[in-house]
């Protein structure tokens, strides 16, 4: 089973707001647990935490410094 790692809808209000991935705190190919902190994204100098939506092995999609918006898939967990 594959679970997408998405930028949540409720982090900020403006749907068009651009965010940037500032850190991956888990490596590509690492085993992660549901709920573990795996990435940080930033909007206007505020950081938000991305947690793993499932147990499994992380595949990183978007890289550090890539621009993302609400709902974007930034990785997957298999």
């Amino acid at each position: 089973m594959v679970t997408d790692v998405k930028v949540p809808q409720d982090f900020w209000q403006d749907d068009g707001m651009e965010a940037v991935i500032t850190n991956w705190l888990a490596s590509d190919g690492a085993k992660v647990r549901n709920g573990a902190l795996i990435a940080e994204i930033m909007v206007e100098k505020s950081q938000f935490e991305i947690t793993a939506p499932a147990d499994g092995v992380l595949t990183i999609g978007k890289q550090v410094d890539d621009i993302v918006r609400k709902g974007d898939v930034i990785g997957k967990i298999t």
């Binding site: 940037v20 500032t22 930033m42 100098k45």
Partner: protein, 338 residues
């Protein structure tokens, strides 16, 4: 899947610093934190995130923009049995409060004949690279390390950041903890990926006063601290493409300075380049070179070199600032000239 890492725990330096303070505050009720925007906001460099929610306003205290007042208050609290961690938001702001730092914090133990100690941590951000201009981008390592009475440390990665903060809080002497903004993992400051490393959850200390050989080599010794270590490691990669084997030393601490590790490395390689984002003259780079030449100049196969920030105010314009900053290409060029 069995061979996948299961215990990976990568932290940014910002998180590592906060975790060390959190654990020491849980362990020791005399530890508290003070500074500008360090409570609800979590510090503008993210290094006090979560502390206010866990420990409340008595132990995580937002201060007015009055560095002289709150750093002096920390000195008094430290001498009266507390272990304060105070933040001077940018090291550039030292000018208004230096009496509290070097005439009180650094000297009171000496003036008291050893009958009083000042067990406090002064944490402060250093470094540029993100166009914040001449009053928010300096390193000033040499300025602090020059003055007796306080230890000075500066981590290059999250593992050392956590262990050094824990060691600094437990130390009975005042410790100046200088963290480079580009290593914090905050994004808007520019982010050096190499600073975000595996960091154990349990508490531990990294010895203050001990340098680390972070890459072994035989042809040249590259010495740096904080951001300089990452520039040196990238330069070592470039040199390796041409068959040059560079050894990289992370000083970790400026006071006490681990001169022995530097001397031993140069005895092996015969060549020395110091990488320092602080100003060129009268600083860490000159001290490291003097250390080696005073000890045994016959070990040197070439004159030592330094890659540093020129003796000018730090420019705001991106191209001008980047022109001035140390980088891997400048280190490689310095080696070529040897």
């Amino acid at each position: 899947m069995l061979d996948q890492p299961t215990n990976e725990r990568r932290l940014t330096i910002a998180r590592a610093m906060a975790e060390a303070m959190q654990q020491e505050m849980q362990r020791d009720p005399t530890v508290f934190v003070m500074g500008e925007d360090i409570a609800g906001f979590g510090g503008i460099f993210g290094n006090t995130r979560g502390l206010f929610d866990e420990f409340g306003k008595e132990r995580v205290r937002d201060t007015p923009i009055s560095e002289t007042g709150f750093i002096s208050a920390a000195v008094g609290a430290a001498m009266d049995g507390m272990r304060p961690v105070v933040e001077l938001m940018f090291v550039d702001f030292f000018g208004v409060c230096f009496d509290a730092i070097y005439n009180q914090m650094a000297k009171n133990t000496y003036f008291a004949g050893g009958n009083a100690s000042v067990p406090m941590v002064l944490m402060t951000s250093t470094g540029g690279g993100y166009s914040d201009a001449g009053q928010h981008s300096q390193c000033l390592y040499g300025t602090f390390a020059h003055l007796p009475g306080m230890k000075v440390v500066s981590p290059s990665n999250a593992y050392d950041a956590k262990g050094l903060m824990t060691a600094a809080i437990r130390d009975d002497n005042p410790v100046v903890y200088m963290f480079h903004k580009q290593l914090q993992g905050m994004g808007w400051l520019g982010t050096e990926a190499g600073a975000t490393v595996n960091t154990p959850e349990e508490d531990y200390t990294v010895e203050i006063g001990k340098a680390k050989v972070v890459r072994a080599g035989t042809d040249v010794t590259l010495v740096g601290l904080a951001m300089g270590v990452h520039n040196a490691l990238k330069a070592a990669d470039k040199l390796a493409e041409d068959g040059v084997s560079a050894e990289v030393i992370d000083l970790v601490s400026l006071v006490p300075l681990d001169r022995e590790t530097v001397i031993n490395s140069v005895a092996k390689t015969g060549r020395l380049i110091v990488v320092d984002e602080d100003y060129h003259s009268y600083g860490v780079s000159g001290e490291i070179i003097a250390t080696v030449t005073e000890h045994d100049i016959s070990k040197l196969k070439a004159s030592p070199a330094r890659v540093t920030f020129p003796d000018v105010p730090i420019p705001y314009a991106r191209h001008m600032e980047q022109f001035c900053l140390p980088n891997p290409d400048k280190i490689v060029a310095a080696y070529r000239k040897m």
